[in-house]
């Protein structure tokens, strides 16, 4: 691959620049006493400086060029197409352009390839080649220019170390800022697509509609209508499954944390903690497989044995397994907050004659309550956003029900089904997934912010 080739050559150039810069700095300096020079910085800093001067602009150009080159070349090819193709509708034109690109890249003509398309393909290829050549030349020219200019600056009094360190600092700031960029990226991408979705489906219909059936007609004349995007059944389904998960995870996780931090001796702890860690480390797809193939049939058979008729994709199966998945999460968060309660409070309670369990229930838990609530909120946000278990074990039927034995569907299940099918990118069906994603992100963000705030406030209280 040419990009690989450019990168490797560039790397060699940079190393060469480093060696040159280092050697040059020693050469321009005068030796003060055995092996020491009157340089401002150590010689290798001059080497780094040259390498950075050569590397930063050329890598930047390489990155930008590679990122934008295919879209620019494609649009250039498109604008040179004959007028009868230009006049086609937007979708048809992009189809033709795709055909041309395929033609150019595979080099194989088939029955569909007419003369203008072949010409366009040849044009596309030549543009690509020009772009590649120009890219190679520009990148190497920049690197060599960087080395030459950098070398002129190498003088004993030049502050190479400060220069290099300034760049290092900016690189670090850039890395730290990626977190902000990511949040921005998430917000912008879901918001942008959601706004497009709300152009075709009114916001209130989405938020308060009680009927979810995203099957839209692909052609105008097709029966099946416009599809309905009322998200209430998804919200209730998500809430039902999360509620089941939390009713299992919170008591068990909390009791586990209490036992481990207050009662257990070192031996028990050294076994129980790794087991919980294993439970936390098992991939969710494994839990999903277990829920769908073992727990769900088990629940159906037991249900039928006692006269109930659970659905084979009942909310209960997904909820129970999800609950077990969250146990380690709840227990480790609660463990932290319970250990943070000062020993003096316990001692005071023992001094009044309370038993250990009375102390825990009436002193430790109330004192740790804000932290525990924070942990439970985090667990709830985890349950709402959990995907694989529900995709594999919960159904697709958007039922509006509170019966845990019936099949329900969740926000995440619908996002996955809407986006994994073969769909064009602009249809309301795929856009609906982004609207659901926006809802999911907003809800979990609110839960996270509240719980992080509560936990932090709580920590400050006892520190």
């Amino acid at each position: 691959m040419p990009v690989n080739f450019i990168l490797i050559t560039l790397l060699a150039l940079l190393i060469f620049g480093f060696i040159l810069g280092r050697a040059r700095s020693i050469k321009v300096a005068t030796e003060v006493r055995n092996g020491r020079y009157n340089l401002h910085s150590r010689p290798y800093y001059y080497g780094y400086m040259i390498a950075l001067w050569a590397g930063i602009p050329s890598l930047l150009i390489l990155l930008l060029w590679t990122g934008f080159d295919s879209s620019i070349v494609t649009s250039l090819t498109a604008s040179d197409l004959p007028s009868e193709i230009q006049e086609l509708s937007k979708d048809e034109r992009s189809l033709v352009i795709n055909e041309i690109i395929n033609l150019a890249e595979s080099g194989k003509a088939d029955v569909n390839s007419s003369e203008p398309k072949l010409q366009a393909a040849a044009h596309y290829l030549s543009l690509k080649n020009i772009s590649l050549m120009a890219k190679t030349v520009v990148v190497f020219a920049l690197a060599i220019l960087g080395i030459i200019i950098g070398l002129r600056f190498v003088k004993p009094e030049f502050r190479a170390r400060n220069q290099v360190e300034k760049i290092v600092r900016w690189v670090m700031i850039g890395c730290a800022s990626i977190a902000i960029l990511t949040t921005f990226g998430i917000v912008l991408s879901v918001l942008f697509e959601s706004l497009q979705f709300f152009k075709s489906v009114p916001f209130t219909d989405f938020l308060f509609g009680t009927h979810w059936n995203p099957q839209t007609a692909i052609r105008e004349d097709q029966v099946g209508g416009s599809g309905s995007f009322g998200a209430i059944p998804l919200f209730t389904g998500t809430l039902l499954i999360s509620a089941i998960a939390l009713t299992i995870a919170v008591p068990i996780g909390l009791m586990t944390a209490i036992y481990l931090s207050e009662y257990a001796n070192q031996a028990v702890r050294s076994i129980a903690k790794p087991v919980l860690e294993i439970l936390a480390g098992i991939p969710t797809v494994v839990y999903g497989f277990f829920a769908a193939l073992t727990v769900a049939p088990f629940i159906r058979e037991t249900g039928e044995a006692i006269g109930l008729h659970p659905s084979s994709e009942s909310a209960l199966a997904a909820g129970v397994v999800m609950g077990v998945m969250i146990i380690p999460f709840v227990s480790s968060l609660s463990d932290d907050v319970i250990s943070a309660v000062p020993q003096a409070m316990r001692d005071g309670s023992y001094g009044m004659g309370a038993t250990k369990s009375e102390t825990i229930r009436q002193v430790v838990i109330p004192a740790a309550l804000p932290g525990i609530v924070g942990g439970v909120l985090l667990a709830a946000s985890r349950a709402i956003g959990e995907t694989m278990i529900v995709v594999m074990a919960a159904g697709l039927a958007a039922n509006l029900t509170a019966n845990p034995l019936e099949a329900v569907t969740t926000i995440t299940v619908q996002i996955v089904t809407l986006l994994t099918g073969d769909q064009e990118f602009d249809s309301p069906k795929t856009l609906a997934a982004f609207a659901l994603g926006l809802g999911l992100f907003t809800v979990t963000l609110i839960l996270n912010v509240i719980s992080l705030h509560v936990v932090r406030k709580y920590r400050e209280q006892y520190e």
Binding site: A176, V268, L293
Partner: protein, 429 residues
């Protein structure tokens, strides 16, 4: 009696109850831990018992009469002609000879399905390798069809009524005959580790998914380790205190750690694929998405590791005239490295098991080829597990569990390395 004694009596009377309550409370604690243990045990035993048969595969021995005239080739044919010939015919004829008198169309089809479709390709490869075999009769071991394989592993009960069985009575007779002639054998399933995905369970393997996972992890590692460590160093060592910008970064990192993974998939779909035009289904885009997902884990772990390096180290280095950057990269970071690496490995293990965001960016496509580079369409281990778990065949359920076992083995190894690192290099200051 004075009032004081009365109080002691009331307390004493209630003591029994209170101690009972204490016992009960402790019991609940033990029970909770026990439930987690039990679940883990059931899960692992369940997957192991379902998955271990997949490491064996049934083979059928057939004495194939390599009659070139049937398929229109001879010893002198060019390799191209040899490649094009339909070797399935030879295998069909062999089976016909072994079980004469099969007339019914349905039964004929069933007869052909004793051996896998791959038998014809195996035969082709062998003949291209040595065209001199044409005209002789050779015995070969071929992959058996998944139904035969499942039967051989005892997962089909022959006492069931015929209608409830995947293998019918007439097929049973064939299998019995093959068994009587020692023509069926179970061997270690090498196909499972050397083949890509396939629609036919007996030909399906995890190599494609393993390589895909490896490439995706390489991309993730190459990006998230340097970025995460540099970000952690900045936040811990260089960032100004009480700076608005730094606060925003910290809040963002903590929030991102709790954002559902599927949302990162949406980001990848809209930004990396939709905006930057990175090829769909490729390990590159998977690695980019997983990088964003694991960054908070790595940053948080690295910060903790850097924080635990005592200030005296920094002061000593600064006192000897090192600059801040020199102190950090020459002394603090090397000392914090074990902790940083542990955090990175744990983050990588998380990323290795992640499925949901990869579904969004098209890594669910059926990919039969083993990917060659980070731009080839590919799938990864957890997604392969998800895909197979959707297939109705019994043989795929078995392979799903086996793939889970392989995945868990990788995770165990990674976590074990992390624990070792922590144990070996952990320092008490």
């Amino acid at each position: 009696m004075s009032k004081q004694y009365k109080n002691t009596d009331t307390i004493r009377a209630g003591l029994k109850k209170r101690y009972a309550r204490e016992k009960r409370f402790q019991f609940f604690g033990i029970a909770s831990i026990f439930i987690s243990f039990l679940f883990l045990l059931v899960l692992l035993v369940n997957i192991f018992s379902q998955g271990y048969p997949a490491f064996q595969q049934t083979y059928v021995k057939l004495d194939v009469k390599l009659d070139g005239s049937v398929i229109g080739v001879s010893k002198d044919s060019s390799p191209e002609e040899l490649f094009k010939a339909s070797y399935g015919k030879l295998i069909k004829n062999t089976l016909k000879e072994m079980f004469p008198g099969v007339k019914d169309r349905k039964k004929k089809r069933a007869l052909k399905q004793l051996v896998s479709k791959s038998a014809a390709y195996d035969l082709r490869d062998k003949i291209i390798e040595n065209p001199a075999l044409l005209g002789t009769t050779q015995s070969f071991w071929f992959l058996a069809k998944d139904d035969v394989d499942v039967f051989m592993k005892g997962d089909i009960d022959r006492t069931l009524p015929e209608a409830d069985r995947r293998i019918k009575d007439f097929q049973l007779k064939w299998i019995d005959k093959l068994l009587a002639e020692n023509r069926l054998e179970k061997r270690f399933n090498t196909t499972f580790f050397t083949a890509g995905d396939s629609r036919e369970p007996e030909q399906a393997g995890i190599k494609g998914a393993l390589i895909g996972s490896l490439l995706t992890m390489l991309v993730t590692m190459a990006l998230s380790f340097p970025i995460g460590v540099l970000a952690a160093i900045y936040l811990e060592e260089f960032a100004p205190q009480n700076n608005r910008w730094v606060d925003i970064i910290e809040i963002n990192i903590n929030n991102l750690a709790a954002v559902p993974s599927i949302v990162f998939g949406l980001l990848g779909l809209a930004v990396f694929i939709g905006f930057f035009g990175v090829p769909r289904s490729a390990p590159l885009v998977g690695g980019l998405v997983l990088t964003l997902m694991t960054l908070p884990t790595i940053i948080i772990a690295s910060r903790a590791a850097i924080k635990s390096v005592p200030p005296s180290i920094r002061e000593a280095a600064l006192g000897l005239g090192a600059s801040k950057v020199q102190t950090t990269f020459g002394h603090v970071v090397p000392l914090a490295m074990p902790g940083i690496l542990t955090g990175t490995i744990i983050g990588m293990a998380q990323a290795l098991g992640e499925t949901a965001p990869l579904l969004m960016i098209g890594m669910v496509a059926f990919v039969a080829d083993v990917p060659q580079g980070i731009l080839d369409p590919s799938t990864v281990m957890p997604v392969q597990i998800y895909l197979w778990s959707d297939s109705p065949e019994r043989a795929f359920t078995e392979r799903t569990s086996a793939a889970i076992m392989v995945l868990i083995a990788f995770l165990v190894v990674m976590n074990f390395i992390a624990v070792l690192l922590r144990k070996k290099f952990e320092r008490k200051w």
